[in-house]
C-alpha cells in the first residue's frame, strides 16, 4: 500500500485543482500512466503515477484545490519495492519552503477567477507521512474563502464539468436539469450565454488565467533573485561547422525530419553538462544534489504572453531527430496548455533560446531549485579572425547564469568551453 501524492509542479506552483480522474478504484495502473488531470495557472497538467499497482481509493474529488504533496489516492502495490520510485518524486526532492509570496496564490488567484469553485476540504491537508511533504507545504493555504460546502454534492456531468472549468463557472449553486438534478452541458450553455453578455466574457477568463500565470512567474523569479546569487558568463561560439553539417543533413531528408540549430545547441548543452555536473541538478535545503540525466527545461514563450519551461527528458542520450520531434511536441503541448507532471516537476537545468527574436545574448534568471540557466542569442554573421584575416562567420553568443552557492566562475568557464568545442564537431552530437 502506498500513497499517491500530488507531485511538485515546479517552483512557482504550490497547488492545483483536480480537474478529473482518469482511473477509478480497482483499476490497475502502470508506472508513468496518466491518472488525473490537474489544473494549474500554467496548464492542465496530466499527472502521472510513479508506481505500478492497483488504485484503492481516490482521496480527492474533482473540483478540489489541493496543495502539492496532498495524497490524491491510495495504491495497492503489487511489488513492494522502493526502487521503483524514481528520483523525481517529491519525497526525494522536496520543494524548498515556499516564500510568503507563494503562500497566497490561493487567495489571489481566486480574485481572478471568482466564479471557479475551489472547495478546500479537510482532506486537503498535506500528507503528514514524510518530512518532505511537511516542508513542502508548511502552511496549508487555509481556506481563504467560504468553502462552497454544497459544491461536492452538486452532481455534474464530466463534459459539463470540463466546460464549467474552462469558462470559470461555479456550479455549486446550480440546479441541473439532468438525472438527479445533475448539471449537464445544456444548463451551462444558458448561463454562459447570459454571462457573455455580462462582465465575464471568455476573454475575461483568459485574462484572469494570464494574470495568475504572471503572478506565478513573479513569485518564482522574485524568489530566485532573492535567494540565488547569480554569476554570469558568456562566450562567442563559431557556428560555421555546425550550420554546414545541419545544411547537409537537412538537404538529405524530408521536411518533417529537418533539424533546427536549436536542437544541436540543446544536445551540446546536455553533453557539456555531463562534463560539469555541478551545474545540473537541484539546490534544496542548503545542499546541492546533482542529477545524472539532463532534463532540460525548455523555456517556451506562450502566445499571448507568459512562459513555461517544461522538461525534455534525458537529452544527453537521445539522437538529434528524436530531440527535434520531442521538442516540437513539447512546444505544441505547452502552447495548447497540456503538459505532463513529470515535465513540470523535474527539469535539472533551463535552456532558453531567444535568437529568433534577434537579440545577441540573454542573461537568464535561474528557475529554483535549479542552479543554472543556459541562454542562446541569435546566430549572426560577425567578424572573426582566421589565419590573421578578418572574415564574416556565423557566430552565436552562449551565456550561462549559474548559482554561486554551488559553482564558481571556474566551472562555468569549463562548461562554456566544452559547449564551444562540442559545437565544433557536430557529427559527434548525433552520438548518444
Amino acid at each position: 500500500m502506498s500513497d499517491f501524492k500530488l507531485p511538485s509542479l515546479g517552483a512557482d506552483m504550490d497547488a492545483g485543482t483536480l480537474e478529473r480522474w482518469l482511473v477509478a478504484p480497482g483499476d490497475t495502473v502502470k508506472r508513468g500512466q496518466v491518472v488525473a488531470v490537474v489544473e494549474t495557472s500554467k496548464a492542465a497538467v496530466d499527472v502521472e503515477i510513479w508506481q505500478d499497482g492497483q488504485i484503492e481509493e481516490l482521496k480527492v474529488q474533482s473540483g478540489q484545490k489541493v496543495p502539492v504533496g496532498t495524497v490524491l489516492a491510495t495504491l495497492r502495490t503489487t511489488v513492494p519495492t522502493r526502487d521503483q520510485t524514481p528520483k523525481q518524486t517529491p519525497e526525494l526532492i522536496p520543494e524548498p519552503t515556499p516564500e510568503p509570496i507563494l503562500k497566497t496564490p490561493t487567495r489571489s488567484s481566486d480574485k481572478s477567477t471568482p466564479d471557479r469553485p475551489q472547495p478546500i476540504s479537510s482532506k486537503a491537508q498535506p500528507a503528514q507521512t514524510t518530512q518532505a511533504a511537511e516542508q513542502t507545504v508548511p502552511a496549508v493555504p487555509a481556506p481563504t474563502q467560504p468553502v462552497p460546502a454544497s459544491a461536492s454534492r452538486v452532481r455534474i456531468s464530466p463534459a459539463a464539468r470540463k466546460r464549467a472549468l474552462k469558462i470559470g463557472l461555479d456550479w455549486s449553486r446550480l440546479k441541473g436539469s439532468g438525472v438527479q438534478s445533475s448539471v449537464v452541458l445544456a444548463d451551462l450553455e444558458h448561463i454562459s450565454q447570459a454571462k457573455q453578455v455580462s462582465a465575464a466574457s471568455p476573454s475575461g477568463v483568459l485574462a484572469g488565467r494570464q494574470q495568475a500565470m504572471r503572478r506565478a512567474i513573479a513569485a518564482a523569479m522574485s524568489r530566485s533573485k532573492r535567494e540565488i546569487p547569480h554569476n554570469y558568463l558568456s562566450e562567442s561560439i563559431p557556428m560555421t561547422l555546425a550550420l554546414a553539417w545541419l545544411q547537409q543533413h537537412n538537404a538529405g531528408v524530408v521536411i518533417t525530419e529537418r533539424l533546427l540549430p536549436a536542437v544541436l545547441q540543446l544536445k551540446a548543452v546536455a553533453l557539456a553538462l555531463q562534463q560539469v555536473p555541478q551545474l545540473n541538478g537541484h539546490y534544496v535545503d542548503g545542499e546541492f544534489h546533482s542529477v545524472d540525466a539532463v532534463h532540460a527545461g525548455m523555456a517556451i514563450a506562450l502566445r499571448g504572453g507568459g512562459l513555461v519551461a517544461p522538461a525534455l527528458h534525458d537529452v544527453q542520450s537521445k539522437p538529434l531527430t528524436v530531440l527535434m520531434r520531442e521538442l516540437t511536441d513539447l512546444v505544441k503541448r505547452a502552447r495548447a496548455g497540456s503538459l505532463r507532471s513529470s515535465e513540470m516537476s523535474d527539469p535539472t537545468v533551463t535552456v532558453t533560446n531567444l535568437g529568433d527574436q534577434g537579440v545577441e545574448s540573454v542573461f537568464g534568471v535561474i528557475y529554483p531549485p535549479q542552479v543554472a540557466l543556459v541562454g542562446f542569442g541569435a546566430i549572426s554573421a560577425r567578424p572573426v579572425v582566421e589565419a590573421e584575416l578578418v572574415c564574416a562567420r556565423p557566430v552565436v553568443t552562449a551565456s550561462l547564469a549559474a548559482d554561486h552557492r554551488v559553482t564558481d566562475g571556474h566551472q562555468g568557464a569549463l562548461f562554456l568551453t566544452a559547449l564551444r568545442e562540442l559545437l565544433q564537431s557536430p557529427e559527434q552530437l548525433e552520438m548518444p
Partner: protein, 84 residues
C-alpha cells in the same frame, strides 16, 4: 487537382492560423515579410512549411527558405511547384 491562387492563399492562411491562432487574415499584407507581421519563431516557421507540405503535397527544399519571406513569395512558390 490544381488550386488557384485564392485557394492556395486560403489554405496557407488556414495552416498559419493553426500555428498562430491570433492571426487576423484580413490584416496581413501579402508583400510584407510574414515574420514582421506575425510572431513566428523558427520552429513555427518550419511547422508552417510542414503544414503546407502535408496539405498540398508540395516539396519545399530548405534551400528555398531564404526566398520564402512574404505571403506572396510563398504563394508564388506553391503555384510554380504545385502538382499538376
Amino acid at each position: 487537382m490544381n488550386m488557384n491562387r485564392d485557394q492556395l492563399k486560403s489554405t496557407a492562411l488556414d495552416v498559419l492560423r493553426g500555428i498562430a491562432p491570433e492571426v487576423e487574415p484580413n490584416t496581413l499584407e501579402p508583400a510584407i515579410p510574414l515574420r514582421h507581421q506575425v510572431d513566428l519563431d523558427s520552429m513555427d516557421w518550419l511547422n508552417f512549411l510542414i503544414g503546407l507540405h502535408e496539405r498540398l503535397g508540395v516539396n519545399i527544399p530548405e534551400s528555398e527558405n531564404a526566398n520564402l519571406v512574404t505571403l506572396d513569395n510563398v504563394l508564388d512558390f506553391l503555384q510554380a511547384h504545385g502538382q499538376d
